[in-house]
Symmetry: D2
Subunit: 400 residues, 4 copies
């Protein structure tokens, strides 16, 4: 068993201490995130269907769905979606196995429609969304069925890598939590707040500027005054969430593209800009940890929708995040950890080409001193790699 | 005002007295009829939307929808639709008028989904149907708005014709009523009976052979014995309906393509063959009177989905049927009447190029003797042509 | 061997002697005819591919293609197609047989593109047409392969009928030949003449009114004067063709919807109205004999694209036309003949449920007198039914 | 004029000196790169069309195209593409301006088809590719036309950022150049080498492992022996290119997923895996500098297809690369530079929220010492930002 673990100390200034830091998060209702959510939920349903039927997961990947924006005519108090949003589910699935037909396309369409309905409270999926499907036929040999209970690691589907780090910097924490709070709490209190939220955090020294874009829901906004009042509430709310998590000055700007004098504000019928001109794709938004963090190492792989048992672009990204966190939490003296895992197509996924760990240690601790302990954490994590699969299917591990 | 009415006596043997007569009807759940129904319901909703917004009907035609069959794996007691039915709504609609956006595509998608759900009791429109839309932009000038209340006849959209006749022959009556009875009554009593029914009537002298194809609904059919029992019930039911309307021998054959020994019978998940291999199109099935009658003069125009105010392919077919019926009912001595109306593109629809009437008169009555009276009926009907429009929108006049 | 042949004398006035007669033909470039042509050419290529690979024809039907019109901005001297024409190939084909993959979709796309390029001289298929394909998977058992050389008749795919008649009336001859002459000759002489031609003939007594719509090709028409000159040439040409074939007065009206004062004339970039708002479908235009003839008995089946060996909607329509012609040509005393063939699903195609022949005999000849001879012709034709298949594949028998 | 330039010294170990380095490049024929190339070429053609017609560029973005893989049956010596590759062009374009129609969809389809034909030498675009288009309508006000010659900077379309760095590390140089050399040279010498190449470089200390996947073209590979010979040639070629650029051990592994004993090797009909199961999207592959470099800061924006005058996701990524290079080349003492540019939606693009520069200086040089000079280079670059637009349209600046 060769894990190829390499541990190296980092001399780089930790992200939180650099002068400039940029962090972004696209909310649940953003067109790209919608695609991620659809892809991931279809993957989960298919995996479950395969497990129920055959006791194992068959080959599939649904990580290429595409959203083509609609056209709308939003009006204070409620207008119209003029042309529905078009969502094309793309990917591969095993549709026949062991003489049995599997209704993969039917499941995909139903799951996608349901996901959209749940993600966007104000959309009417009967009229405002078209879900189409051009999913190809994948094939699974009898020997290729992944049986989670067998415990043996499958072979990597590709030569690819995954990357993770821990912990979040304060700026990352703010951006991440703010969107979650808007979605989970503010939306409940203020029905005019839609699900399409985008937050850009720029920290310059210890000043944090948050630029927030929030789609409002036209039927819950009677006029411009009401809109302005919602904007004020959002600003106050975001300021509160951020100030709890950041020691420094916080500035919040909401919907800066509005031109209130012209009456041109961010009004939507459905709560998402997908209704009017903003297309979306899987894998173009948040990384598996929910953020876009240019100062961190990132993989470009779309984790969402990929199969949960041997697709490196999913597994290794989720695993690398987990391992980083384990190192950070379990190894004394480590202030920041990042993990890169590189697979070799055809080799077992618990034997990467390389498992490279960068650790930023406390003053007085060297990388050499923690090397053994870090290595053990990584080794254990790789040993247990197949447990990730079940947690993905259960929805315990998110990809966006 | 020039109606160009021509009345001519027919020397042909009435259809009912010829040796051989063929009559066919495709039921509500047949793929072609589904397309007709979708096209017509979308047309009605759009017309109503235009009326509500602008007090007049704007240019549109939705007579080109296409159904691409799905794939299914029906099993006694219930199996799966493996790949959803794909329905593409094609046509034109005015999407912007007088500075206002009209949600034509949204209405079309919603209406089509609703129509399918109502027409097919056992389909799950969330998973088993994809409704897509590629409806082009028609344009309407201010002067082209059709205001039903104005009473003035619009100009014909095309050089085209419509055809009708009355009354139904006994064979036609049987075929027409049998499908209706299966849909309206038998289906209530026997849930295993689906909506996709096709009836072919062949009369040879005074023997009527009815070949009936009925899709059964798998989840309501436990096994082959249950299936056979359903077939027996259908046969008995059809025989009863037919015998009430036909003086002569009636033979009924149901699902003749079944091979019971091989276990190959007409089982479906959804009640329609559209789930498995049978595509459908607007205008490929029943004529506006609900039948396919090769012994009669027929127009090939798809009446369903065409706009209800100046599309000759719709208006003249419906009007010709109405006028035939009026002549038959109101003019003494007429045993059978058929009407052909030919428009000239750009001329008012109440001034056809020709309104040709064929009458088969009772013995002792000549065509000349009824010519004046027939002409009056036709003249009155053309005078009142715009009333047809409102009745179409109200759903009082069917097209399939 | 039971042919179920029924011969009956017709008392109806022959079509040519009735007062009013309507005949229509949609030209090669009409959107409906384009769909017919695509469907039929794809069917031919697939049949040939099956024959080449397996020595037999496998299950397929491509009779459901749909054309969604584009959008154009035609200008004298040449403008633009703004949005391409979208053609969706729908149908079924056997894509795997005896362990071998058959590139049915690839063949369909290539054949359709090639057909369009050849049918429309002025279209640029690289930019002005999108050919898409959603062809389902049909399946063929080993025993279902149709081997033309075996000589044994396959079983009917459906309970359906086909209809034919002979000879053409003078009006029918005129309408048929005029479109052919415009396509084959006039277009060569006058490049401004497009392929989308529609001819409506109305005979009232011995006056024939021809309403002709001809799409012109913008790049070959410099201005309104040039357009008017083309119209004059078309009118003169049509008048010439018609007068050679019709003894009576002939009136020709070309592009009657034009409003020359407003500069609104029938100008296109590509020679077809499909570029701007006119959708098309298989089977909505000409019958298998190339005409739309409401005064004749007609089948509504789309003959184009259906498989050439056991699809009744194709075979019986072509066969009935052939048999009518044979009866008319070979049996003395017959002035007009029509044939209706009704199949029974599952029975051999050379044993119809009924083969009903109507004959209009010369004065002095009774139907009884020709019954035997007519029956022999029909019997021979049914005996030789499988020869139709090869002639269809060779392109000797047209369907539009 | 506020450029908000911030210069900071980097204490991080330069990438080339860290123990582990991962670098990847997806070649021209990879499905993701194909999408990038299509998106970018459509953008260029549209920009040029707008310039030619109106002297300015109108609103458009074509950065969302999606490729749905086909299905193929590759055979030594040549097999078949069974189902064509489906490419859906998604995005927005201004289709009407100043009363004039712009054939944006037609241009998009034509350009995409041409791009595919040129990128993939062995594909038959008539049969093996379907290019579809669902491009929405963007709108451009008169005042929003970008006129390159005006010299004034347009407003940012979004709050977003771009990132660049210079110079390439040796490993980056090797990965980048190797793919280029295979595409430009090896493919000429060995026709069996396809365009779908993927190179993964893993440097561990001074050992560089290159994992190369190369699609081969079936018709140019007669049998397994020929295939093995091609593999040997590729390995030797790659080794040569890499060794010229890397001082250390180089190991090359080609098509490691092959199972030669089973006869399962990387054979394609067209030279790309898009023919069989590998979907593609814009922006999922290489960054604007042609590489995937997890150790570097990266933007997740898809640069390809975005409009070239105010879309930050394109402009700032290209500009940041340029500026990094300028700093590296023009400022003495700078060994490595990276630039991050953050826009504010609605503000002029030459006035970023922040222009953050990280410099790694030579020993003995401090960041403070070069700060002024670095700032000047950045200031000049921002001053000249609009020149980027023209260079993009001319194809001088690539995005993949």
């Amino acid at each position: 068993m060769n894990r190829n673990i390499r541990v190296e100390g980092s001399k780089a200034t930790p992200v939180a201490e650099r002068r400039i830091e940029l962090v972004e998060r696209k909310g649940i209702g953003h067109p790209d995130t919608l695609c991620d959510g659809i892809a991931e939920s279809v993957m989960r349903e298919l995996s479950q269907e395969y497990l129920d039927r055959f006791g194992g997961i068959l080959h599939h990947n649904t990580d290429e769905s595409q959203l083509v924006a609609g056209r709308s005519d939003p009006q204070f108090g409620g207008g119209n979606v003029v042309q529905p949003i078009y969502i094309l589910i793309v990917g591969r699935a095993t549709k026949e196995f062991d003489g049995e037909s599997i209704p993969a396309d039917t499941i995909a369409v139903e799951t996608a429609r349901e996901y959209v309905r749940e993600a966007l409270e104000n959309i009417d999926t009967e009229s405002e969304v078209i879900v189409d499907c051009r999913m190809g036929e994948g094939s699974t040999d009898l020997k290729d069925v992944f049986e989670p209970e067998s415990g043996s690691a499958p072979s990597a589907n590709d030569t690819s890598f995954g990357i993770g780090y821990a912990p979040f910097s304060p700026t990352e924490r703010v951006v991440h939590d703010t969107e979650h709070a808007i979605y989970a709490k503010l939306r409940e209190d203020i029905p005019a707040v839609g699900e399409d939220v985008k937050i850009m955090g720029k920290r310059d020294g210890d000043t944090l500027d948050l630029t927030v874009a929030v789609a409002t829901v036209a039927k819950h906004v009677d006029d411009l005054d009401a809109y302005i009042s919602v904007m004020d509430d959002v600003e106050e709310f975001v300021h509160g969430v951020a100030s709890d998590r950041f020691d420094g000055e916080v500035n919040v700007a909401v919907n800066t593209a509005d031109d209130r004098d012209e009456g041109s504000v961010y009004l939507t019928e459905t709560g998402t800009s997908a209704e009017m001109g903003d297309d979306g794709s899987v894998g173009r938004g948040n990384r598996a940890n929910g953020l876009i963090t240019p100062a961190r190492e990132m993989s470009l792989e779309a984790a969402s929708g990929k199969n949960p048992f041997n697709h490196i672009g999913k597994l290794y990204n989720l695993l690398a995040s987990e391992l980083s966190n384990d190192v950070y939490e379990e190894v004394d003296g480590v202030e920041e950890a990042s993990v890169k895992l590189l697979s070799q197509i055809g080799s077992p996924i618990d034997e990467p080409q390389v498992a490279a760990v960068n650790v930023h240690t406390e003053e007085g601790v060297t990388a050499d001193e923690v090397e053994y302990e870090v290595g053990s954490v990584i080794d254990d994590g790789l040993e247990d790699v197949t447990s990730i699969t079940q947690r993905i299917i259960n929805g315990e591990l998110g990809t966006f």
